[in-house]
């Protein structure tokens, strides 16, 4: 019996078009746009000004708040300006725009060789300090600053480290390719996080649609102490923190609490690789693997791309924007955000760029809910999406709160499975917003 989480979940078609395409290093455009709000929490504060020359890897904006992260220049060039530009949120936010000037001149102290360094010299404090300096955020999509996540709150003890290689979203293959091409780096990165947290066991959870990665990592993991690869049965949303913990350890994170409550810390494989780079090579987070794909994309590929490259440049590299593209999605098709245009730059949180043609994009007309209960059975959090939708339409916020609307993690399983094609998640997100506002105002 393969492990998986017991409650809910759906099985969308895989569509991993790029599972076999090796990671390709994306070329640089003339200009890069570095968003300052690349992590959850407060935006970083720029420490460069117009006209400054910057080197690759140089710190250009500092995360000053507690939940915030540093931003580094991914290229060598001159600061063109600091201006608001449209980003993935659909709104304008401050960005540093850099004119790219020739080859990379690296900031001092960064090791750009490919040599694998297995020995971990840094102490736990140094590791977290290095992670903080390198501006590492969760690369799974939520972009939560990693140094905050690795700082265990007082009175809590971490027991297990879970490395998330589930990649349960259809289409995306960036984690899969990374596991195949940088397995040792991921394993060393995992060991580094284990050392920082002081835990002795780590699990790398991988879904069984990535057998090659499972095989490779299992083989290599033998040389590392306490790291075990767990094969998971393919089911969406296995990559969600709470579901992954339930699947691997059988522990259930209580409602409204963080994974540390049950002694677990979850990190994405991409983050593990980034942590390896930061700690062993002093390399800040300036590039990530991103999948550019879609049913009609002529050359769907995985790119190792510098942060800040406008998406249209990556799309050009993948064979250009297909004629009938109607939806541009950052992330996977289940949880991704639609983007307004292709000028939006790549950020640390983007694992995939999805181009959907019109016939994929248009929602169908909703029917009345026939109470088939599929959403209830699909909901991994054990909520009743159809009922929450009704409560939100009727604006019964107290009842919605009582029915745990806040626990919804917006995985989209309910709306995916709904035979009546109802916009369940739209309403639930709206309700979640309202209810959280009510809860906040109550606290004040």
């Amino acid at each position: 019996m393969l492990k998986t989480f017991p409650k809910g979940g759906v099985h969308p078609d895989d569509c991993k078009l790029t599972a076999k395409s090796p990671i390709f290093v994306a070329t640089l455009p003339d200009k890069v746009y570095i968003m300052l709000n690349q992590s959850a929490g407060a935006p970083a504060v720029p420490i460069v000004k117009k006209g400054d020359k910057v080197k690759t890897g140089q710190l250009i904006a500092k995360g000053e708040a507690f939940i915030s992260s540093n931003v580094h220049s991914p290229v060598t060039g001159t600061i063109d300006k600091i201006d608001p530009i449209l980003d993935a949120t659909g709104y304008k936010h401050q960005a540093i725009i850099i004119n790219v000037e020739g080859e990379d001149t690296w900031e001092e102290g960064i090791d750009i060789t490919n040599n694998l360094i297995k020995e971990i010299k840094a102490t736990p404090q140094e590791i977290i300090e290095k992670i903080k300096n390198a501006g590492i955020v969760g690369l799974g999509g939520a972009a939560f600053p990693t140094h905050v996540k690795l700082t265990i709150p007082q009175g809590k003890v971490a027991e297990y480290l879970l490395i998330n290689g589930a990649e349960c979203e259809p289409y995306l293959t960036c984690d899969h390719r990374l596991m195949l091409e940088k397995p040792e780096e991921i394993l060393v990165g995992t060991s580094i996080i284990m050392k920082a947290l002081g835990v002795h066991r780590a699990f790398i959870g991988i879904e069984n649609n990535k057998l090659d990665a499972i095989e490779l990592l299992t083989k290599l993991a033998k040389d590392y102490n306490g790291i075990e690869v767990v094969t998971l049965k393919k089911k969406y949303p296995q990559g969600a923190e709470k579901q992954l913990i339930k699947a691997i350890t059988g522990r259930e994170v209580p409602s409204g609490k963080l994974p540390i409550e049950v002694g677990c810390v979850v990190q994405n494989v991409g983050t593990a690789k980034a942590i390896y780079d930061a700690v062993q090579k002093n390399m800040p987070l300036i590039e990530r693997v991103v999948t550019v794909t879609g049913p009609n994309v002529s050359k769907p590929s995985n790119f190792l791309s510098r942060i800040g490259i406008p998406l249209k440049h990556l799309i050009e590299l993948a064979g250009g924007l297909p004629e009938d593209t109607a939806k541009l999605i950052s992330g996977g098709p289940m949880m991704g955000k639609t983007l307004s245009n292709t000028d939006i730059p790549l950020t640390k949180a983007m694992g995939g760029i999805l181009l959907f043609p019109y016939n994929f994009s248009k929602r169908l007309d909703p029917y009345p809910c026939i109470r088939c209960g599929r959403c209830v059975h699909a909901c991994p959090m054990g909520l009743e999406p159809f009922y929450l939708e009704k409560l939100v339409i009727k604006e019964r916020w107290e009842d919605a709160e009582k029915h745990w609307i806040i626990d919804c993690m917006e995985c989209g399983s309910c709306q995916y499975i709904c035979p009546a094609k109802r916009p369940l998640l739209d309403y639930i997100r709206l309700g979640k917003n309202k209810v959280s506002a009510i809860i906040r105002s109550r606290k004040n």
């Binding site: 109607a326 009345p368 026939i370 035979p419």
Partner: protein
């Protein structure tokens, strides 16, 4: 970039199933039993079946178009399902005008007054059946004899249902002395008196397996329902085998299989969570057995399902378990 992209919330992909497909699956699943009914009850069954389906469609269309002024949604096929189930639940010699009244009640009272598809509290076909049973008891309880009446449109040889014989004679031993009880094989195949769709256990089960395969229904409701009836009647049979019929008799006669697989599982009027569905099934089972053993009517499937339908909102509220609830 002058291209206009669509902005919408996630998710961006959808499962293939839709409402029509689900309804179509139910229709397909009912086809074997329909053909069986045509074979056993002949032209009368064909007449009742088509009148019921067509009038249900017409009433749905007319009510939506002229009374509610909505866009008619008969293409969702739910009216066909209601019509078929209504036909299954009445005797095949029912006069046409009674069938039409049944359709009007099913669609009008059973479904539309609540707001149409998905809003109704009670299974529309059962609402109509119970209405007809109470309003036209004579028509609704004169059951044509199978095969013998196959060639007739309305003037048919009638005879009682096995459950009716049982209730009449008061005990199973007395009932078997009448010599009118069909054999178990006949009950299985459907060669007995009863509503036109409920008689053939085998054909209904074929349809039910198709529904299970298509994942339109799950086993939670039918299994808990049927098991409860078997256990309940089994206990009484063990206590006094001469007075009470054995569980197999109860399983194969009356509308239990039809009710358990096709009526109680109606999505709109059953609980959504698995735990709720099991509670619902047990409730239906207990009520059915009580009515059959001690009630005034020989058959209790329709009543028990309708009564449990009324409890669905309550069951829904108590029966689901939330992730992370235990230790919260």
């Amino acid at each position: 970039m002058d291209k206009k992209f669509i902005i919408s919330g996630s998710p961006h992909i959808y499962a293939k199933d839709n409402v029509q497909r689900i309804m179509l699956d139910v229709v397909i699943a009912l086809i074997p039993a329909t053909l069986g009914a045509f074979y056993f009850f002949g032209l009368g069954a064909v007449r009742v079946f088509f009148v019921s389906v067509v009038t249900c469609l017409i009433f749905e269309y007319l009510i939506q178009k002229f009374l509610l002024k909505q866009k008619p949604t008969i293409n969702d096929l739910s009216a066909i399902v209601t019509g078929m189930l209504l036909a299954f639940n009445v005797p095949s010699n029912l006069p046409t005008w009674v069938v039409i009244i049944g359709s009007l009640i099913a669609i009008g009272i059973g479904k539309m007054v609540f707001g149409g598809l998905g809003q109704n509290l009670f299974n529309p076909a059962l609402v109509a059946r119970v209405f007809l049973l109470i309003s036209f008891p004579v028509y609704m309880t004169s059951w044509p004899k199978p095969i013998a009446s196959a060639g007739q449109l309305s003037d048919v040889v009638t005879g009682p249902t096995p459950l009716g014989i049982l209730k009449e004679s008061g005990s199973i031993s007395a009932a078997s002395q009448t010599g009118e009880l069909p054999s178990y094989v006949d009950m299985m195949l459907g060669n007995m008196g009863g509503s036109m769709g409920e008689v053939s256990a085998i054909l209904l089960l074929i349809g039910a397996i198709y529904l299970l395969y298509r994942k339109v229904i799950t086993l939670h409701i039918p299994l808990s329902y049927i098991l409860t009836v078997i256990i309940f009647t089994g206990i009484f049979w063990l206590i006094d085998p001469t007075k009470y019929a054995d569980p197999l008799f109860h399983l194969l006669t009356g509308g239990l299989i039809l009710g358990a697989f096709f009526m109680a599982t109606d999505m709109v009027t059953s609980p959504t969570s698995y735990r709720g569905q099991i509670i619902f099934g047990i409730g239906c089972g207990v009520l059915t057995a009580l009515i059959r053993l001690f009630g005034a009517y020989p058959e209790g499937v329709s009543f028990s399902i309708l009564i449990m339908n009324a409890f669905v909102p309550l069951i829904d509220r108590i029966s689901y378990k939330h992730f992370g609830e235990v230790k919260a």
